[in-house]
Amino acid sequence: MKLSEAKSASGGSKEKNGMSEIVKTVCNWIAGFIFLFGCYITAYGHLTPGGGFAGGVILAASFILIVLSFGKDKISPLLPRKRAEMIEAAGGLIFIFSVSTAIYAGASFCGNFIFKKWSCANFKLLSAGFIPLLNIAIALKVMAGLFLVFFVLSITRVILEGEKLKMVKEE
């Protein structure tokens, strides 16, 4: 796992950011399962309660857990800021692409053309046309977006300088 590699790469130096060793160990075990649960909620969004938004928030929570427990420099090999921005844009583009392909496939805008053309077995993972695809797109978008908001907020500090509040960055 990438996270444990990143941990062992700089594990020799005693770093000051992050929480205690117990919290780090537990979060190292738990974060993967939270990520998996988010994937499950997203992928089965058209069959069970849940969906793209809830799954995306759970995925973002797994990354935020890593940031909170390990500090900011441990997240950069997993999900750096540039990659998060690209993932968010990719989610939006997948959504717009699959929604507007319906025009060229003979359905109306936002029409479920995959289900109309190739209707497959019900109650399966690959059913309901492009609803799972849109779920995945929304999950990517929400995951990257909420992680970006948290990351940007967590590297910003507001300090009181004289009478004014001043924003500084911690990198």
Binding site: I41, G45, H46, L47, T48, P49, G50, G51, G52, F53, A54, V57, I58, A60, A61, I64, L68, E85, E88, G91, G92, F95, I96, V99, F109, C110, N112, F115, S119, C120, N122, F123, S127, A128, G129, I131, L134, N135, I138, K141, V142, G145, L146, L148, V149, F150, V152, L153, S154, I155, T156, R157, V158, I159, L160, M167, K169, E171
Partner: protein, 173 residues
């Protein structure tokens, strides 16, 4: 029976909201807001809406994390703001007027789960065979109302764009 449980939760939610407003410590105020959110998710479960309950729980957790992170890292821990009498009296009068005006409308509200609108009946009857999605909420928001979801995604994109641009790395003077 379900209604009494829901009313109990609503009373506790109002109490927690009042505690969040009135407490001087910012951290306890945020924890009270979290209590409101989690009780709201239980209420959604009792109203047989598991989708919205899941969303409520996860969004509540995320916002609590962000708010606690923000308040703990700041120097501002407590607020000293005395509440004078006039706004309080104004609020009470406004609540009374609202209760009088809304009494008839509240009395005419339909019971939970009956008197469905025609669109909702159509979705429940034909939704599965027209979209193939077993979860009818997914069928509505991603098939019948996919255009609204596109707009919602655009709103999310714009909000995150604003946050990232305002808090960008090199602040211009």
């Amino acid at each position: 029976m379900t209604e009494y449980i829901i009313f109990t939760f609503l009373v506790f939610m109002i109490l927690a909201a009042v505690a969040a407003l009135e407490s001087k410590d910012l951290l306890s105020s945020i924890i009270s807001i979290g209590a409101v959110g989690f009780m709201l998710s239980v209420v959604f479960l009792y109203l047989k809406a598991p989708d919205i309950a899941i969303v409520q729980v996860v969004v509540e957790i995320l916002t609590l994390i962000i708010l606690i992170r923000v308040t703990i890292s700041r120097d501002i821990r407590t607020i000293e703001d005395t509440r004078n009498f006039m706004p309080f009296a104004k609020n009470v009068i406004l609540l009374f007027v609202l209760a009088v005006l809304a009494a008839r409308a509240i009395g005419l509200l339909p019971e939970v789960g009956v008197n469905l609108s025609k669109v909702a009946q159509y979705y429940l009857l034909r939704g599965f065979e027209e979209t193939g999605a077993a979860n009818i909420v997914s069928a509505v928001i991603l098939d019948y109302r996919a255009y609204d979801t596109l707009g919602e995604a655009t709103i999310l994109f714009t909000a995150i764009l604003g946050a990232v641009v305002i808090l960008r790395r090199k602040a211009k003077e």
